[in-house]
Amino acid sequence: MSFIPGHPVTAVVQRIEIHKLRDGDNLILGFSIGGGIDQDPSQNPFSEDKTDKGIYVTRVSKGGPAEVAGLRMGDKIMQVNGWDMTMVTHDQARKKLTKKNEDVVRLLVTRKSLENAVRQSMMQH
């Protein structure tokens, strides 16, 4: 998942569909995000590359819609409903996730275990 400027980013991603839960007036997804191009990437505990300014999942609440959908802590969110999440500010990411008129968010997330799994399966062949 290292980022070389000028080259496209390639990653193995998993599609996750989260249905928002209505809690009173709010629609919650049940996880917390960290990161963004306006944040300090060196403090990110989940990233492999400490210059990676992408959006990461820092916490998943137990039993929430995110956990049910298969989101795990430490996942990097690449896309939200088609919107790119690799080069956004923290606030832009929050806005894309908490749109009031959307009930479902379709995320593309990547994690290290996915790449290992794909490599292993490729090696078997």
Binding site: I28, F31, G35, Q39, Q43, L97
Partner: protein, 511 residues
């Protein structure tokens, strides 16, 4: 009540000392095989020790007060001052410099006029360029005259003991210069009776140019060179330790002494001999309480020097060992003096303030009644002076300043303050603090005739570590020289971009 407390503590002190071991108070004197007290004649007479020597011998104390008072000394020294000194030296200097100036000034004119007088028919006519040079000579001579007047003909500020080296050098240089020009003129122009008048005029112009350059040299040597500070001089007064520091350039010792003395009159508080008597009496008391008795009586004869040495050693040993309570006395004395001064000062300030408000009230009344009839400040001063005179005199006596101010001077100062609308605090300022010497009348200075005492020659320049003395009759100023350190400045460049800071956050939002 505090005085009783002091006596009580002293008694307690004495009883305590009696209880302590006797050995602390005893003095060991190495008994010298000494001469008897009364000399050789008594040895022959007194073979048997007289047991009643405690009552019959009389000891002569070492302290005796001379009855010559301070005023007598001042009067004697003033007589020495008023006698006319070597003023002929000053007049000689002035005369020489005026003669030199005249010679120098008239030389170019002489160069120009002499050909016209001696061989007018053979001279070639002076063209336009030559006449232009006349104007240039005239203006350059005018500038030279003004410059010489500005630099050299100023009233002298001091009389120096030795010649002023730079001035003498410059005078010699000018003299040699002008003489060499005259020599050349005499040999090549007067003897051969040159017809080229333009050349002669150009020669005169070159002389005036060179004189202006010599004047420039004079400015640099006499005025500019010492402006850049190079040495720091520390001046200490020997009687009370008042110290000042001055930064001077590269000067000779005598010129530095003049600068220091000029600054002395404005920087140092006036010398007050009345303030020094306290420490002198303390020092006298310290050793006067000890007397050396020869207990062994007529013994072997010895050299007188041995006795004197052993006696002084004994006295020093005794003085070091005895329980000295003079520091205690000093402390209490100073505390009491401070309190007394403050009390008198409070009374004085109140009296003066009341007097001034009285004047202001009277002034307002006068203005209301008759606008043209204002009181003369002198009369006003005389009117209110008696109300504050007593308080002021008491204060001056407590601070031992009473000899510095006469009644006439106080009244004058009061009239001056009233004229200039000063507040009572401004009026009192000159009495509450001792001002510099210049503030007081010339007869109170006690510092008029100065002597320069120096190991190095007084015309030599200041060097690091030079020490010299400026002695007056009552006190002396000790001057030490230190070189100002060479300052090496280094530069450090700070990129303005390094001052930009980015606040890096790491926030977590739950969605």
């Amino acid at each position: 009540t505090w005085r009783k407390r002091r006596e009580r503590s002293r008694d307690r002190h004495k009883s305590r000392s009696k209880e302590s071991s006797r050995s602390e108070k005893s003095v060991t004197i190495n008994a010298p095989p000494a001469e008897p007290l009364l000399g050789d004649q008594s040895v022959r007479g007194e073979e048997v020790q007289d047991d009643n020597w405690g009552e019959t011998t009389t000891a002569v104390t070492g302290t005796s007060e001379h009855s010559l008072s301070q005023e007598d000394i001042v009067r004697i020294s003033k007589d020495l001052d008023d006698s006319v000194g070597l003023d002929c030296k000053r007049y000689l200097n002035v005369a020489l410099s005026v003669i030199l100036g005249l010679v120098v000034f008239l030389t170019p004119l002489a160069f120009l006029i002499l050909p016209h007088l001696l061989w007018p028919d053979r001279l070639r006519a002076c063209g336009t360029a030559c006449e232009g040079l006349f104007i240039s000579v005239a203006f350059k001579l005018l500038i030279l005259l003004l410059a010489v007047w500005a630099l050299f003909f100023r009233p002298p500020r001091a009389g120096l003991p030795r010649i002023f080296v730079f001035r003498a050098l410059l005078a010699t240089l000018v003299l040699l210069f002008v003489l060499s020009y005259w020599l050349f003129y005499g040999v090549r122009i007067l003897d051969s009776q040159d017809e080229d008048y333009q050349g002669i005029v150009q020669y005169a112009v070159s002389l005036v140019d060179a004189l202006l350059f010599i004047h420039y040299l004079a400015i640099v040597l006499l005025e500019l060179r010492q402006l850049q500070p190079f040495f720091s001089l520390c001046v200490t007064r020997s009687t009370d330790g008042a110290t000042q520091h001055y930064n001077l350039g590269q000067l000779s010792i005598q010129r530095a002494a003049v600068v220091i003395l000029e600054n002395y009159y404005k920087d140092f508080p006036v010398h007050n001999p009345a303030l020094l008597t306290a420490s002198k009496s303390r020092a006298a008391k310290h050793l006067a309480g000890l007397k050396v008795y020869n207990v062994d009586g007529p013994g072997e004869n010895n050299a007188a020097a041995g006795i004197a040495q052993s006696q002084s050693r004994a006295m020093i040993a005794a003085a070091a060992r005895r329980r000295d309570s003079s520091h205690n006395e000093l402390y209490y004395e100073e505390a009491e003096h401070e309190r007394r001064v403050r009390k008198r000062r409070a009374r004085l300030v109140v009296a003066v303030e009341e007097a001034f408000t009285h004047i202001r009230r009277m002034q307002e009344e006068e203005q209301k009644k008759a606008p043209g009839d204002v009181m003369d400040p002198r009369e006003a001063a005389q009117a209110i002076f008696p109300s504050m005179a007593r308080a002021l005199q008491k204060y001056l006596r407590t601070t031992r300043q009473q000899h510095l101010h006469s009644m006439e001077s106080i009244q004058q100062h009061l009239a001056f303050s009233i004229t200039n609308n000063m507040t009572p605090k401004a009026f009192l300022e000159s009495y509450l603090t001792t001002g510099p010497t210049l503030q007081y009348g010339k007869d109170r200075w006690l510092a008029r005739q100065w002597t320069l005492i120096s190991e190095a020659s007084v015309t030599s320049g200041l060097k690091d570590g030079t020490v010299f003395l400026l002695k007056c009759i009552d006190f002396s100023l000790v001057v030490t020289t230190k070189k100002i350190p060479y300052i090496q400045l280094a530069e450090e460049f700070i990129d303005p971009k390094s001052h930009k800071f980015m606040l890096r956050l790491q926030s977590e939002t739950s969605v």
